[in-house]
Amino acid sequence: MTNQANNIQKTTGPSSNDKFSLEKFFKIQDWNLLRLFIITVALFILMSVLMPEKFPTLKNFRSMGFQLSEIGIMGIAIAITMITGGIDLSINATANLTGIIACIILNKFAGPDVANPQVGLAMVLAITVGVIVGALCGLLNGFLVSYVTIPAILATLGTMTLFTGFAFVITKGTGFFGIEAFQFIGNGEVAGIPMPLIIFAVIAIIMAIVMNNSAFGLRLYLVGSNAKASKFSGINNRAVLMRTYMLSGILAALAGLVILGRTNSANPDYGTSYVTQALLIAVLGGVDVNGGYGKVAGLVLAVISLQILSTGLNMLLFKYSGANFFKMFSWGLLIILFMIINFLSYQRKQRVKKPKPA
């Protein structure tokens, strides 16, 4: 678990030809990331001390690995749109719609029979079509935000209703069951490592490279920090936004496929709290809600710390029926506390920068 985080952090850390020194490391890394890392480690130690027999076990790490993937992917999806100064509220609706369409394809081409030779083909087809559906959903969002210039929160609120509506129309309000073979994506293991965790790690690494080292990533940050400046420096803002929302849609679709694999079912109204959680991850991960800043490494740390918190609370409160509700309460508290800390530290920084006139 923490190894995973370290690996990802390394890929996004200072470039390897810099001479490593602790001071330099902390200067280059922003404080937010360091603070988050400390929170993650502190939470981990706290839970391990509280439950030395149950928490720091391989079994627990593995079960956490199964759980954090889908919400982690959605967190990245919402975060990239927030970095451009927008937001994508339709991620969960996109994920559900994708899951349902993938379900139909799987059942049509493979059916319940595991030995069916078409299973592999059906799975490839389902994933491909799923990703295309996600891309189309994202393109619609991008079009509404960049060409029609609807504020992102409103545009994606509309498409969220629309996509959920499509999902209801397709399923007529009920849910669909997937096929057994597809469960490998959500419940399978490779060398003891949960498949969803592998998927999440691969996505996180790819996204970290895209955001930090590609021209597109640079443009994305520029559009978010100052749209006018980026326009006058020759960047096609609309094209960047279209691609960002498309990417967000594709990521949401992948999350939907992981959900389908893990729960072996697809419902039009599954996981309605995922948008809140994804937003929480983005905020905790240090994404600037006004756009222009946010790092994948921060998001990964945020996902891990949240998962430690939820699993830990579940274990601590397993005697009470309402452990889930306490989790909800603590998420809300966390999101607010973290925003307050961010605000106060920002204020202090401003004060340091601008010394009082004598």
Binding site: I87, L144, V148, T149, I150, P151, I153, L154, A155, L157, G158, T159, M160, T161, L162, F163, T164, G165, F166, F168, V169, T171, K172, G173, T272, S273, T276, L279, L280, V283, V289, N290, S321, G322, F325, F326, K327, M328, F329, S330, W331, G332, L333, I335, I336, M339, I340, F343, L344
Partner: protein, 334 residues
């Protein structure tokens, strides 16, 4: 004058609403029966009360998604307290208590938003989770299938009654009076008071409002406190209408209300919006949600229709705005 009216967003929404009503009514005359209209009013009451709160926040340039959590918490706690006290008195006490609890929660929102300048969407998403989690974990997560007597009597109070074809008596519930009262008060505040001007000013530009001498922190406390009160009142009316207290209700419907307000011409970026427009928007959403079934649209298509109308409703003003800006730029460069 007439040209000015035609150009407003309210006129546009009113036209859509009238055309939709006529269309549904012609295809299925049941739509225009008194019973159906009473049902529509009943559905619009709670959403309308919430919409007044959402409207104020949106005019001030924010978004509040926590009001449903406030409403359900305030209502559930009120019902629990009054049932425990065996209180059988007037509904006014229930509404006042619920509004008071709502006010406290609203002030929590206000403190977070005003003192720490946290973006309203994120702050209220956080408090939504906080309030609902608090309610379900600390207060209770059990469904209560009766409400205090006062609320029951209130639900049975009809302003006008009519006999349906099957012989049952239905009527226009008195709750609609609360919506009318709330709407008039909010209209008055927005239109004629300094605080109202301040709300519009903050929505136009926070910086400018501050420099013009508005006390932004105080106004934000007023806004979110009032939203809390309205949510509490709406929650109490909701509990009365459905004669039950289900702690899982309402939360998740907040975006419908916000959509209705935006359809009614309020700018999500702030500075613009009217009570009349918001009421029209609520009516439109209520008609879509309740009456499409009457003309044979399967219920699962409702969300699709709502989504499309929302996108078009948000898209047209945004597109017009962009075009106007383009023209302005072209004029300036000449």
């Amino acid at each position: 004058m007439l040209k000015k009216i035609i150009k407003t967003n309210e006129f546009f929404v009113a036209m859509i609403l009238i055309v939709l009503c006529l269309f549904i009514g012609i295809l299925n005359p049941v739509f225009f029966t008194l019973q159906n209209l009473f049902d529509l009013c009943r559905s619009a009451t709670v959403m309308g009360i919430f919409a007044m709160g959402a409207l104020i926040v949106i005019i001030s340039g924010g978004v509040d998604v926590s009001f449903t959590a406030i409403a359900i918490s305030a209502m559930y706690i009120t019902v629990k307290i009054l049932l425990a006290l065996n209180f059988t008195g007037t509904v006014v006490v229930a509404i006042a208590l619920s509004a008071l609890i709502g006010l406290i929660m609203g002030l929590i929102n206000a403190a977070i938003i005003a003192f720490f300048k946290i973006p309203t969407l994120i702050a209220t998403l956080g408090t939504q989770s906080l309030f609902q989690g608090f309610l379900l974990f600390f207060i209770g997560s059990k469904y209560i299938n009766n409400v205090p007597d006062g609320m029951l009597r209130f639900a049975r109070t009809n302003l006008v009654t009519t006999t349906t074809s099957s012989g049952a008596i239905t009527g226009l519930q008195a709750g609609i009076l609360i919506l009318i009262g709330v709407a008039i008060i909010v209209w008055f505040i927005l239109r004629f008071t300094m605080i109202g001007r301040g709300i519009y000013a903050i929505g136009g530009s926070r910086e400018a409002a501050e420099r013009a001498g508005f006390n932004v922190v105080a106004i934000q406390f007023f806004i979110y406190g009032l939203v809390g009160i309205l949510a509490g009142i709406g929650g109490a009316v909701f509990g009365s209408h459905y004669k039950q207290a289900n702690p899982f209700d309402l939360v998740g419907t907040e975006l419908n209300t916000i959509a209705a307000v935006v359809l009614g011409g309020a700018l999500i970026t702030g500075g613009k919006g009217t009570v009349f427009g918001a009421i029209l928007g609520v009516s439109l959403v209520v008609v879509i949600n309740n009456s499409l079934v009457l003309i044979g649209v399967p219920s699962e298509w409702q969300k699709v229709v709502l989504g499309i109308i929302l996108i078009i409703g948000a898209g047209i003003p945004a597109y017009k705005n962009m075009m106007a800006e383009k023209r302005l730029k072209a004029n300036l460069s000449e």
